[in-house]
Subunit: 218 residues, 2 copies
DNA sequence: TCGTCCAGGATTGTATACAAACGGTATTCA
DNA sequence: TGAATACCGTTTGTATACAATCCTGGACGA
């Protein structure tokens, strides 16, 4: 499906990047005009977005960009833990584990870099590395269902990360955690890899919750 | 969204129950007529179904009920393992674990029953029990995202189970596995519960693959 | 003054009309 | 005889017209 698909992906990006902020009402006619399509493919896009829980459809009232409650952050991180730990288990059982060796080296280098010199603007380059790790884990599963679910939850978390800026200290520690994940994956140490991922996910969650001013449910 | 939603659920059920067999082409006009709606809400339903991977949209050619390859069975069971193990972990950490005690007793009773007298038609009643366990696990997570993902994967497996009829022996062993899951969950033994679920899932998969004539990738 | 109810306007939900793309068939040419 | 191609019917993809629903503002009454 041509236009509907494109509109879907574009709106999805705008929502994840906060160009469409949580809570905004999506007027069908105006949106359709802005994107240069009719209401039909636009509604297709909204429907798909609602299934991703990026918009909420209120019958008779239309579509709203979903808001982000503290509970949702916790719940999405639980999903992430479930999917990423199992994904890395599959990677650890997989034959093609060499990639993780190279990634481990890179992450260690970045950890040292952060410790020595702080951040100063190198974040973009570092994020490219974390993207490579994410991709390697998703690919390593060899499971398209899992890949897509991982993509979903990662999108949600990308949107949520706007809630809390990452500190240099968190980046440094995170690099170390990533290195640990890569080492375990390369060696085929399934249990250790799963633990490393679980720890990393939970530390990330704690960092966000702390930054949000100490949520009640810690 | 009124009619689209209903059409979606109805078609979903027909696909899961094999009233619409894998591979059948879904003609929009004919389907819309049969269901008594216009093409617009019907297309909404097809779109949602495609996101569930229950139909595949071929651009320009229309919608087809997805076929079930052996690979898909394996992949869906991997998804199930990822989600159910984490779900039962959350249950084991949860305060409301009393339900699992009662369920454990019931499953033990059924295991004995199967051992003594075989099956003879009591399956429906037994499946109601397994449904109660599934519901208890989903509820016990307290996580709506996880609940929905569990529902998705369970639907897929319900459709796939048509591929292989369960044997009395498998039912008996399965009841024992369920009992083990319930006991661990009630006692809050997280690791044991996760292992029990993983074992159960993998045994179910092996049973299906065996019944399918010993798939190559065991 | 506060609450209720009604009317107007706007927006969503559904149906239908039109355009584009695809598949199948027959025909033509080597 | 076989393969390539052009044509036609069918089906999907998109736009638009119409109906039903919901929110807003204001007037009326208690």
């Amino acid at each position: 499906m041509g236009q509907g698909e494109q509109v879907y992906e574009r709106l999805r990006e705008e929502i994840v990047e906060w160009d469409l902020a949580p809570g905004t009402h999506l007027n069908e006619t105006r949106l359709a005009e802005r994107l240069g399509v009719s209401r039909t493919p636009l509604r297709e896009a909204l429907l798909r977005l609602s299934r991703d829980r990026l918009v909420r459809l209120s019958p008779g009232r239309g579509a709203f960009v979903t808001e982000i409650a503290l509970q949702d952050v916790v719940h999405q991180f639980q999903m992430r833990e479930a999917l990423e730990t199992h994904a890395v288990r599959l990677c650890a059982r997989n034959a093609e584990r060499a990639v993780f060796g190279a990634l481990a080296v890179d992450f260690l280098r970045w950890e040292e870099h952060f410790a020595r010199e702080g951040v100063h603007g190198a974040e973009t380059e570092y994020y490219a590395l974390t993207d490579r790790l994410d991709a390697a884990i998703a690919e390593g599963t060899g499971n398209p269902y899992l890949r897509e679910s991982l993509a979903d939850v990662r999108r949600h978390l990308r949107r949520m990360r706007r809630l809390a800026r990452r500190t240099p200290e968190r980046l440094r520690v995170g690099a170390g955690e990533h290195a640990r994940i890569c080492r375990a994956a390369r060696e085929g140490a399934e249990e250790e890899a799963a633990r490393a991922v679980a720890d990393h996910v939970n530390n990330s969650l704690r960092h966000i919750l702390d930054a949000l001013g100490g949520g009640a449910s810690r």
